[in-house]
């Protein structure tokens, strides 16, 4: 079929449709203004029930970014080695040379994971993988950023268990290594866990697939993958409201994943990418068939006609509304060149997947669909998509009261403080978590979880390696969103620099509360502002990402948590390094300013329970110099190990470097002429890194530090049976290991080594 059999007609309600009125529009989370706008855009007529559903999902926060897009546009979104501007395609795309590009993106699946942790997290992984392979890129790594309430809470333990199993079972089965991430616990996330998943893939420049229907009318629209069921209907709308007691009844809004089908879909898609039979391809993610068809049609101004009766179903009696809004997983929409559809069918069916022609491209700029012999939908495509007629708002802002004054009791017993910090669930080894993820499949993971500041994954067929990190300290943002966001970008990029790789670009997942609350919106605007400042200072454009509002429940909102994912590149994999001490007798230096404070620190967290005080501000220029220096001197071979100072400050970093030395055999002997103070040992501040340097190259190294104008302090030598500060205190390997290895399991009430 290439002719619209309902040409000239307007859609009519299905017999089973409820009457559409303002009340129903409200129930679909459209405001009065928005509903009036819908009627106007439809030329004065009321929408059908099906059309109302389509507007509801396409104008939901999740799909339309209506309350965030104008802020996001202030971020640097092009330049550098970016091959597509942010938001243009499913994921960011950055050149890495030799005709290759890296595609990457991070996305939230917070709401589904809060009500159904296993499937919520699993489908989060599935969705982000599809975003990457929809572009023709083979995924080579996954990461994730997780936030939970206090680990002692039974519900939290249930969520942790389900989320980790969900991420593991999905990624392990598809066969993409989960190479890194972060897990934090804080009261602020008790009711609202955050589950952000990131995927990274590699594609040849000339094999990049685009999410477009093209402009050629008559080209076939082909549905591939799993059948459509009733799962996940209104998932996008669900993600656009606060969680409440009723949220548990939203379980049916959560999709169910099948990683085996995803693996087949991945291979089929990449095989399709090897042909030139496709015009475009788009995965069916949030808002399902609706969103994918609208986005493809909207890209180049075409239209699409869909015959919904042809859509493969899993259940009997589904209405057009349900078919269009279903978020059943593992499905793709393809526009093929007319005459080449058989090639598409052959490839997809070889992988035992469905491939069905469900419609065709038109040139009337409209999204039209029929079912059961009648036209059910006729909407101008550009009124549905981002950048077209979808609403865009700047919300009201109100500056909240400043953060509470600093409250902290400095540690007196340094040895105990060290062990307390190492055992804290935020600092302790995340082995319990990453052991459940296959982090090695692909045989390319050069630096595995827990071994360095970022993960290193080799690019097949080259000497290159990608360095990937994901990070955010919500406590810092809760004190000062602008400064906290600057530091979040800085830390993520610094993590990549500490392995010897050059950061190329960032992807972000902005987890915030309800944007209709002025204080929350102020926080959001400030954080985006700070992020932009840092990205410009480091020359790392934002390649894309995701906004998750409404992370809020009756007891309050989460900390503002703009999670930053960074991808960096090192041309020579053999030069890159981890954080473990590699040899006895290396000099240990602390690079960066001697400025640290307690505000938002882990010590403050474990002793006071909540953050307070003013953050130590970051000097972005100094930070950029520091990163440039790290990358250069690691590639010169001067630095044998590097680790940035983060949660728990200097001592925690030194202990982690000792604990990741070969067979835990190399400790650190530290000394200082000045007083060894609690603040020097445990307080936190930006732009600080511990590095080790072989005595053979120490002169060159110190000259280079001076030339770079960086503050530096020699603090000791690697070696010994633990970490010791001469004349002050020491901890043995056994003590460190017991605290660090078992801290998380103990906090979660699990057996050691679980």
């Amino acid at each position: 079929m290439t002719q619209d059999p309902f040409s000239g007609q307007t859609p009519t309600p299905m017999p089973s449709d409820p009457p559409v009125d303002r009340e129903l529009a409200h129930a679909h989370q459209l405001t009065d203004d928005e509903y009036d706008q819908v009627i106007e855009l439809l030329g004065g007529r009321e929408p059908t029930f099906t059309e109302l559903g389509v507007y509801s999902v396409m104008w939901s926060e999740h799909a339309s970014y209506k309350n965030s897009i104008l802020q996001l546009k202030t971020l640097p979104r092009s330049g550098g080695k970016l091959l597509v501007a942010a938001g243009e395609e499913n994921a960011g795309l950055v050149d890495i040379g030799d005709g290759l590009a890296v595609a990457f993106k991070v996305e939230s699946h917070n709401h589904p994971s809060a009500v159904e942790p296993y499937q919520g997290a699993a489908t989060g992984v599935g969705g982000i993988l599809r975003d990457v392979f929809t572009m023709g890129a083979r995924p080579i790594a996954c990461l994730n950023s997780l936030r939970f309430g206090p680990p002692e809470d039974d519900r939290v333990r249930y969520l942790v268990d389900g989320v980790v199993r969900g991420i593991g079972d999905y990624g392990n089965c598809v066969g993409i290594p989960t190479v890194g991430g972060e897990v934090y616990f804080d009261e602020a996330y008790r009711g609202n866990p955050l589950v952000n998943a990131m995927a990274v893939g590699i594609v040849e420049h000339d094999k990049v697939l685009k999410a477009t229907a093209g402009t050629e009318p008559g080209n076939p629209v082909i549905y591939i993958g799993s059948r459509t069921g009733r799962d996940g209907i209104h998932g996008a709308t669900f993600a656009s409201e606060e969680l409440s007691e009723e949220s548990k009844s939203r379980k049916s809004n959560v999709q169910v994943g099948d990683p085996f089908t995803e693996k087949l879909l991945l291979e089929a898609t990449l095989e399709l990418g090897d042909t030139d039979a496709l015009v475009g391809i788009q995965d069916m993610g949030a808002a399902g068939l609706t969103c994918s068809s609208c986005e493809m049609a909207g890209k180049d101004g075409a239209g699409i006609f869909l015959d919904l009766d042809k859509v493969p179903r899993r259940e009997e009696g589904m209405t057009p509304y349900e078919v269009l809004l279903s978020e059943s997983q593992e499905r793709m929409l393809v526009v093929a060149k007319r005459g080449r559809e058989q090639e598409v069918f052959d490839i997809v069916r070889r992988w035992d997947l469905q491939a069905v022609e469900v419609g065709f491209v038109t040139n009337d700029g409209r999204m039209r669909a029929s079912a059961d012999g009648q036209l059910v939908l006729d909407i101008p495509v550009d009124t549905l998509v981002l950048g077209g007629g979808a609403p865009q708002y700047v919300r009201e802002v109100e500056e909240p009261a400043p953060a509470p004054a600093l409250s902290v009791t400095e540690p007196q017993d340094f040895r105990n403080a060290t062990l307390q910090l190492l055992a804290s669930s935020n600092v302790a080894s995340k082995r319990h978590v990453y052991r459940q993820y296959d982090h090695m499949v692909g045989a390319s993971t050069r630096l595995e979880p827990g071994r360095g500041d970022a993960a290193l994954v080799r690019v097949a067929g080259t000497n290159k390696v990608l360095s990937i990190a994901i990070d955010c300290n919500g406590r810092q943002l809760s004190l000062n969103p602008r400064e906290g966001a600057r530091q979040a970008v800085a830390e993520s990029c610094r993590n990549v620099a500490c392995t010897g790789a050059q950061p190329l670009g960032i992807t972000n997942c902005l987890n915030f509360g309800n944007p209709y609350k002025p204080k929350m919106y102020w926080t959001f605007v400030e954080a985006v502002g700070g992020m932009g400042e840092a990205c410009r200072a480091f020359g790392t454009p934002v390649t894309g990402g995701n906004v998750s509002f409404y992370n809020e429940n009756p007891s309050g909102a989460v900390f503002p948590t703009p999670v930053i994912g960074v991808v960096g590149l090192a041309e020579d994999a053999s030069k890159t390094i981890g954080m473990g001490f590699t040899r006895e007798g290396d000099a240990i230096f602390l690079l960066g300013p001697d400025r640290a404070g307690w505000a938002g620190s882990e010590w403050q967290n474990i002793t006071e329970g909540s953050p307070s005080g003013e953050l130590t501000p970051i000097d972005l220029e100094l930070e950029a110099k520091l990163q440039e220096f790290l990358i250069k001197s690691i590639n010169c071979g001067w630095i044998s190990a590097a680790h940035d100072l983060s949660d728990g400050g200097l001592v925690v970093s030194l202990c982690e470097m000792a604990l990741t030395s070969p067979n835990r055999s190399i400790g650190a002997l530290l000394e200082r002429e000045e007083d060894v103070t609690a603040s020097w040992l445990f307080a936190e501040g930006p732009s600080r890194v511990v590095v080790t340097v072989s005595p053979m190259v120490i002169d060159e190294f110190e000259e280079a530090v001076e030339a770079a104008g960086l503050p530096i302090e020699w603090i000791g030598t690697t070696g010994g049976k633990g970490v010791g500060f001469r004349g002050v205190f020491s901890v043995s390997f056994d003590e460190m290991a017991d605290a660090y290895d078992n801290g998380l399991e103990r906090a979660l009430g699990l057996k050691p080594n679980a």
Partner: protein, 231 residues
Amino acid sequence: MKWGVIVFPGSNCDRDAYDVLGRVFGQDVRFIWHKETELGDVDGILLPGGFSYGDYLRSGAIARFSPVMNEVIAFANKGGIVIGICNGFQMLTESGLLPGALRQNHSLRFICQDQPVRVERTDTRFTNACTPQQVLRIPIAHHEGSYFLAEDELKRLEDRNGVLFRYCSLSGDVDAESNPNGSVNNIAGIINEGGNVLGMMPHPERRCDALIVHDDGRAIFESVIDQFVNA
């Protein structure tokens, strides 16, 4: 040597095995699709890790019935070299080429970690490049890796020295503490009576390139290839 790496729907270590045999060891290697009914001219078959057919029903249980497995079974029965890694090991037990079964890990969780294993014999075609009792660090990544065999059969397996690898500590101690998944007698890998079929849960193909952590896994491929070439 000429190698075939079988590709089942859901295999996900097939490309790793292909890369190691081809790029690292310079072997003549090709993929064989699960629907094929002939193996062609090959000297060795590698059944890769992954989740064949989603591991629905039971790991390896459906793969055992795929068209190509009949050919693999016939090839093995004629003395052809077959290596099954992880999901491949599960297929070998499901298809009866090797005794026993792989059950869920005792922790009931997926476990992925570098894992020391002790080489129990060095007089086989898979371990002749190793030293007696050598400890190799070869990663495991499985949810169903707990090897089980009823007592009488286990005795038979041990009596014929069918166990090639046992989970151990870094210093080579085989004990409960060094057993990651509850396998009987810490069994990580076994061979058939003919000595031509190897099944193991650890993934040697992940540790053949020193740039990717370390290359302890090389010894196993080197053993097979060198013996074949020098035979």
